[in-house]
Symmetry: C2
Subunit: 532 residues, 2 copies
């Protein structure tokens, strides 16, 4: 073709709106084509994700097809391997072949948002559910339905309590919204099972400050929001943080232990790892740009949205990472690129926030508009819905969502799950001292490798658990029941905080069948252990 | 509780309708409770699965919650480990713990349906998509959208053609329905991409007989169905079968090679593996029952639906595996259980088929009713929709599906994917002689182990591929780029039909870090290979 190319990385509010505005001005930049690279082929309407968990919005009502919205943009629905500033190229991961593929750019718009990063807190990565994108929302919903169903037939009282306990970390917008939705969902579902005592249902919201939404709302509204949640049955634990998560539940920084099979963390959000090694000016992981959204010192690189640090000319601070800002930034950014291409001057981004809106489930919300109007309860909730509904792209989507909201009012809740993902072959687990990894007599379906930490092997002798051995880093256990037996012949207990890999029986079988030395190592370990 | 228990295995038409009819008569069997065990928490309306692929029916419009439909039945949403006839017990796999759990029964209804079994044809298990349940339908839909999107930006012409070629095996009801839906879907989607030449789209239906639906319909109607499909662009290859599938495509029994990234097989359907070792009278994997649906020689075991061989008293043959029959069987079966419990006599099942209906996509269908009425085209399609719609359970679901059909008519197609499943860590692959497993210079993201077969390592020397070595069973390759390099330093070509395991880089990294002997084995192999 020989056309020059504007390449946009990321399909969130910033990226998609930039592409939309560029498409409108394509005739002014005839030598250029627009390309957008994103992992998913849809744009997610983020503000409604919490409602997907609650079930009041249909799963795909919140997403719209990129291809539909951006008919004149070339879409690469692929993972990005790396960004090569020197060659002005984006390397993509292969999909249907192993060949690397490369997209060259003349102008680059980075709008990669941020990602959830659990690395700083042990066990979160392994046992907490993130809440960031659509598949997170679906996974949380499926998981919650699983816990209620399992609780309905569970005979072990402790396990039943843990199944009905839900722990949510973080009292910002996404934490309060999802806590509200989960609280509504589980209390509604639990009622349908005569075998579940509603008093067993516990929903905890863990927040490090002394009121929720303290950054987003004024004191009175933020207190109101907290009270609404509490009235509905959410236990807010103020001044506390998630310290660890294990298969047994959450441990807080004051050592409170919450036995739970559902830990959700909305807190640590960090920059996209693709930016880490990029040689662009950055601050706290965000790309520093001027008020025209151009990267300082680069003439064809732009950044927008949550991954960019844009000076806020209204407040003297930096622009907040919200959809409200990203949408407005996109319009200015697109115009600036067109202007640069045509040799005209660029404009600075300047926008005064309209206010904040947060849903609290059950037809209730809080809002703070233009800095002085405060609304709460049903009116705020209605406003919230109306504003977001008006922002939905396209008439068809508006119609679908309106119908779906209407049906939601007249049709009772239906807890249908979509289970797509087969459970993975290799899982990472985290345990704290005292946790039992498995009991003698349990079904043996996994082999375990200790990556870090220490465990203790116990065997029942005359009704008592007798210490048999300790195992540490690099050692493995659970292989006996994989090779020979169906049931575990010992109990394994965690002694020090441990990171452990679990490999499913069937996958491991394939491995040992093909690596004679691996089999050898396992066999010889087994022989040694039999001597006990 | 001390109550006796009727346990139903499986939540298809047979199982769910039996539970529904038993619930209605619960007062007649006061000492009993009803339990149903199923992997999913929903009942799938099977006849509409093909429409899920096409997108004209919303994903969850086809499923309804078991809990809603069966409020008086105890539901176990779990996988079954084994059926213990001696102890009258069902062993379930653990879900949130490792403890095995057991459900005892006094009456057992087996309605486990059948499963897709690809074992007889090499490569099908690895590279063909089954079409049997809801997640299959969603996976097929996602995969097809992937192929179109990848094709829209693919520069390699051969790969582009393969991406736009779709091969469907089997010309029965599910094969023709899904071929029709896929054909509509891809031709519609392809139009939206200016970079895709519609002439490149190929949809093949492979059928072993000389006309489609030859078992289900009369000759004239079946010829009509075939013609409709062909007119729409489906290439029907008569008198052929799928012989192999590989990452490169499908190979037929006459050695025709169809290069394709999408092979779907609807053919080999086999009994549920749980029944294999069960000591009950069986024929061709189906449980033999008398016309009351009681297993011969057992007084409390019943079987129904696709997993049962029930004498058809109307025709002298056996009842066909259709929803039409299963629904009617359930009513008689439930009544018989109630009668046996109350010491009354049982009734034999007797039903005359109402006819057959099959959709052909694009507002077209064929039907054969009461043995003499033949309908085709739009009228048959409308009838098809109407009949299934009437059978949908509950007013709310009827309303939702009606709205969804209505919206489908006025709103253009939207190809949004739901990607839930992370790709698995260990994949099985099948290759045929001449297939390239990877090329020199490709991205190295997997390690490969040869389970069966033989491959050849080639290296480019002065522009020519030079043979370096052969590898066989139990040997592995691709480890170099895992340990050191980013790009493959050799090409690997299949020499004999090969089954190969591929382990993702990240998962393998965790393994070698923890098994020193495994690392040792790989290192020493690597050293040896470096000598080349």
């Amino acid at each position: 073709m020989g056309k020059k190319r504007i390449v946009i990385l990321g399909g969130g509010f910033g990226g998609v709106y930039t592409a939309m505005h560029l498409e409108k001005q394509l005739r002014k930049i005839k030598d250029y084509e627009i390309a957008l690279i994103n992992r998913e082929n849809y744009f997610v309407y983020q503000p409604m994700l919490a409602e997907v968990v609650g079930g009041s919005v249909g799963i795909i009502d919140t997403v719209s097809s990129l291809q539909r919205r951006l008919p004149k943009t070339t879409l690469y629905i692929r993972d990005i391997e790396s960004i090569d500033l020197e060659k002005k190229a984006i390397n993509l991961y292969p999909q249907f072949s192993h060949k690397p593929s490369v997209v060259h750019y003349d102008h680059l718009v980075v709008s990669l948002g941020n990602v959830t990063d659990f690395r700083a807190t042990p066990g979160l990565h392994e046992h907490a559910l993130p809440f960031k994108n659509l598949s997170d929302a679906l996974r949380i919903r499926n998981h919650i339905i699983d816990t209620i169903e399992a609780a309905s037939t569970e005979t072990d009282e402790d396990l039943k309590k843990a199944l009905l306990t839900y722990v949510i970390g973080g009292g910002g917008f996404s934490g309060t919204e999802i806590a509200a939705e989960i609280n509504d969902l589980v209390r509604n579902l639990a009622k349908k099972y005569p075998t579940i005592d509603p008093a067993l249902v516990k929903v905890y919201l863990i927040h490090s400050k002394d009121r929720v939404l303290e950054r987003e709302l004024s004191e009175s509204l933020s207190n109101y929001a907290g009270k609404i949640l509490q009235k509905r049955g959410v236990d807010i634990l103020f001044g506390k943080r998630l310290a660890t998560a294990t298969p047994a539940g959450a441990i807080l920084d004051d050592e409170t232990k919450l036995n739970s099979k559902t830990v959700i963390s909305t807190v640590p959000s960090s920059p996209n790892p693709l930016l880490e090694h990029l040689k662009l000016p950055q601050e706290k992981g965000k790309i520093k740009v001027d008020a025209t959204m151009q990267v300082q010192g680069e003439d064809c690189i732009w950044a927008i949205g949550d991954c960019a640090q844009i000076p806020d000319l209204q407040t003297g601070s930096t622009c907040p990472p919200t959809a409200q800002f990203a949408i407005r930034e996109a319009k200015v950014l697109a115009q600036n690129i067109v202007n640069v291409i045509n040799g005209r001057s660029t404009t600075e981004f300047k926008f005064k926030s309209l206010g904040m809106l947060g849903a609290l489930g059950h037809h209730s919300a809080v809002a703070e508009l233009f800095g002085f109007i405060k609304v709460s309860g049903f009116v705020a909730w209605f406003m919230w819905r109306l504003i977001y509904w008006m922002k939905l792209p396209g008439f068809d989507r508006k119609l679908k969502v309106a119908i779906s909201w209407f049906l939601d009012m007249i049709i009772p809740i239906e807890a249908v799950q979509l289970k797509l993902s087969p459970s993975q072959g290799i899982n990472s687990l985290h345990f704290e001292p005292g946790d039992i990894i498995f009991h003698e007599g349990d079904i043996g379906d996994y082999l375990y490798i200790i990556v870090k930490g220490k465990v203790e092997i116990l065997k029942k002798k005359q009704g008592e658990d007798v210490h048999v051995a300790n195992l540490g880093e690099g050692e493995f256990f659970g292989e006996m029941s994989l090779l020979n037996e169906k049931r575990r012949n010992a109990t394994v207990k965690c002694v020090e905080p441990s990171d452990i890999l679990a490999i499913r029986k069937s996958d491991f079988g394939a491995l040992i069948a093909n690596f004679p030395k691996l089999k050898e190592q396992i066999k010889s370990t087994e022989e040694k252990r039999k001597e006990h």
